[in-house]
């Protein structure tokens, strides 16, 4: 992992000025790459990298000049040594990933993206053609933002662009609406109107005038493998290979251990290669969220050097604004905060790289939403059935309102919403998205363009063209990949909070060979009925304790709104937010004041309703983003 930044001036300025600028913006993200800062600059452009040295520590400085190309990147190319071999390259000449990228680009142009496997954000400037090329990995593990206004400027983080820009940049109301609707931004939207993100699997070309963005990676649609074609051994080997490929670099590797099966399997596979494996966990003093029993069991079983941090509500409140400063976007829940504090702990142990289980729920069908979708479809065929809806109770058994059948009888109607609309291409997400109508009321989102149907249409336009042709499980996967996975789990809760502590995350479940293979296996084999991640559990059942293998899903959550505010306590950040509400023009201040009253109400429950909580956290993050913008803006505008 590294931090990259650069700009192309539409009107030349002195190189001295440009050097000052590139230094200034790289310094803002020095935590992404504390090992070395370098840049190449002249009167027309500057390109730089803060390097976190992991692979080719001695030879990998960047950006490099490779004939007419200037090349830098953030990330890892996991098949880099293999590509050197296949292309018969002289490894003393091509002795780093960045040089390999330059070589491959020269030889294959943009087609080289089909050859490299990894997690990356790449920039290449062709000094002959004066053309800039940017590309981002297929799942969007590493970020890259850009803005094409007075100048063209790009960076790993938004704060660099804010600091660079003389242009007036406003908050994006679309981003606020999208977060209220989808829980994340969609497409190329960021929380700032003129700043875009290059979406996962896409590339960008800018020749000084024209800007082109296109998708280079299409989603897999083929689903053909039947039971006979995949054995437990195959599956084990595939994942083992994914993990082995990602043990890449000349530094040590650690692993997160949540207590669930995904990270348990990663730690198990890593431990076979790394005898003194360090594992790290978050625990909570609130038992509703705590998984430490399973974490301890696993670390003892796997014999890892285990470190655990305990998170209190106070930690959530004290670190939320710092986390928004790194996430640089609206947040709908607090769960990135513990991950920020955990990566700090990893850093303290002198690590640079940590493995994490993200992606397993998407690739191997782990999320409840896949099964909620199946159950609703099944129920819709006989809506008056007294039995069919009860499967939902089985599915959400970890939530108190489901565990108790009496409660459940009362809430089942919640899931009946749009039950008959099974032809809707977004059927799987209709219940989740229907909450928008309530959440938007807290914000000033009355304009027509923020109506549900317009947001959905915008989302559809951002998806691959073949989306509509997929089966319903694959559709659900694609929706998740393009919302929660890339724009939240891998960013706000992933890259952004770990990079903040100079830690790089690795995600073997998103390994390209692994995930592509898994996509070809029929859904009913991956997860028949409502058996989530069945194939994964089956393949590893002989290697881990039954308690872990057959442990029902327990979604990672952290203490929410009540951490900031309760009957007798108002955190500093909540107080500041309260004082500032009148200035937050996107928020409906009367409704937010009511919300404060409700959370502080002596008779309110320890966990407030989902929507109210989401509105509060989004509203609070809006307040924090204002401070963020003030801190990093160049022109001191408010």
């Amino acid at each position: 992992m590294c931090g990259v930044a650069g700009f192309i001036l539409k009107k030349k300025k002195s190189n001295k000025n440009n050097i000052k600028k590139i230094n200034q913006i790289l310094d803002l993200i020095s935590y992404r790459g504390p090992d070395k800062k370098q840049f190449i600059s002249n009167e027309s452009y500057s390109f730089g990298t803060n390097r976190l040295a992991i692979e080719s520590i001695k030879n990998g400085d960047q950006p490099i000049k490779f004939e007419n190309l200037i090349v830098g990147f953030n990330g890892e190319i996991f098949n880099y040594k293999k590509l050197i071999k296949i292309n018969n390259l002289n490894s003393s000449h091509i002795d780093s990933e960045v040089k390999l990228i330059a070589y491959l680009y020269k030889k294959y142009n943009e087609k080289f993206l089909d050859l490299i496997k990894g997690q990356f954000a790449i920039y290449i400037f062709d000094t002959n053609k004066n053309e800039l090329f940017l590309a981002r990995d297929k799942y969007g593990i590493r970020p890259i933002y850009y803005m094409n206004e007075t100048d063209f400027v790009f960076a790993s983080e938004i704060k660099c662009i804010l600091k660079y820009a003389k242009d007036k940049i406003n908050f994006s109301k679309s981003s606020l609406a999208q977060t209220c609707f989808f829980w994340t931004n969609i497409g190329d939207t960021t929380s700032f109107d003129k700043i875009k993100i290059l979406p996962p699997g896409q590339l960008l070309k800018f020749d000084g005038k024209d800007l082109k963005v296109k998708r280079y990676f299409q989603n897999q649609i083929i689903q053909q493998k039947d039971e006979n074609d995949i054995t437990n051994d195959d599956f084990y080997e595939l994942l083992n290979k994914a993990v082995t490929n990602q043990i890449h670099g000349e530094v040590g590797h650690a692993c997160y251990l949540s207590g669930g099966i995904d990270s348990a399997i990663l730690a198990f596979l890593l431990k076979k290669k790394i005898s003194n494996l360090d594992t790290f966990s978050v625990s909570f003093d609130n038992s509703d969220y705590d998984e430490s029993k399973y974490q301890k069991k696993l670390s003892t079983f796997l014999k890892t050097n285990h470190k655990q941090i305990k998170i209190s509500s106070k930690d959530i409140a004290n670190n939320f604004s710092k986390v928004v400063e790194h996430a640089e976007t609206y947040l709908f829940r607090t769960a990135p905060v513990p991950m920020y504090l955990l990566s700090k702990e990893v850093k303290k142990s002198n690590h640079k790289v940590v493995f994490s289980g993200e992606g397993a729920d998407e690739v191997l069908l782990g999320y409840d939403i896949f099964f909620e979708n199946r159950i609703r479809k099944f129920w819709s065929k006989f809506p008056n059935s007294k039995i069919r809806y009860k499967l939902l109770q089985k599915l959400y058994n970890y939530l108190p309102q489901f565990k108790n059948s009496r409660y459940f009888e009362m809430i089942k109607d919640f899931y009946k919403k749009n039950l008959g609309s099974t032809d809707d291409i977004f059927y799987s997400h209709l219940v989740r998205w229907s909450q928008y109508e309530q959440i938007r009321e807290y914000f000033n989102l009355n304009e027509e363009k923020y109506n549900a149907e317009n947001l959905v249409e915008q989302f559809l336009n951002s998806l691959p063209k073949n989306f509509k042709d997929q089966d319903y499980d694959r559709k659900t996967q694609i929706i998740e990949e393009n919302t929660l996975l890339s724009n939240y789990l891998l960013s706000s809760q992933g890259d952004r909070v770990s990079s903040a502590n100079s830690i790089e995350t690795r995600y073997p479940y998103l390994d390209e060979n692994f995930s592509n293979y898994i996509f070809k296996i029929k859904s009913k084999l991956k997860a028949p009925g409502i058996k989530s991640k069945h194939l994964l559990r089956k393949s590893f059942k002989n290697f881990l304790p039954d308690e872990i293998i057959y442990r029902p899903k327990f979604a990672y959550q952290a203490p929410e709104a009540k951490s900031f505010l309760s009957e007798n306590h108002t955190s500093r950040i909540a107080h500041e937010y309260f004082e500032n509400i009148k200035n937050l023009n996107n928020q409906n201040s009367d409704s937010i004041y009511d919300l404060f009253k409700k959370i502080k109400h002596p008779a309110s429950s320890s966990r407030i309703g989902f929507r109210e909580n989401m509105a509060f956290i989004i509203g609070l993050s809006d307040h924090c983003l204002r401070n963020f913008k003030k801190k990093y803006s160049n022109n001191n505008e408010k």
């Binding site: 009496r406 009362m410 809430i411 429950s605």
Partner: protein
Amino acid sequence: MKNNNQIKKEIIDYFKLGNPKLKNLKKFPTSESLISLGYVDSFGIIESISFLEKNFKIKIKEDEITLDNLGSIDLMSQLVFKKLNEK
């Protein structure tokens, strides 16, 4: 001693606090399930019960958690009224 209308008002006020959409309705729906109408989400049921217990200092037993007792604001206030009278 609170009468039925006072109880109902306290419940309605609480629901309105966290729900601008409900607050802005011309006529607050008191005879239908707020969940079926889409105003309360699945977490809402626990929250509602917790509110009734804490606010009115009553205890709602497991077997009282039914749509017949809690399926609307009217029914909720009747239950609370009954419980307060039993005290």
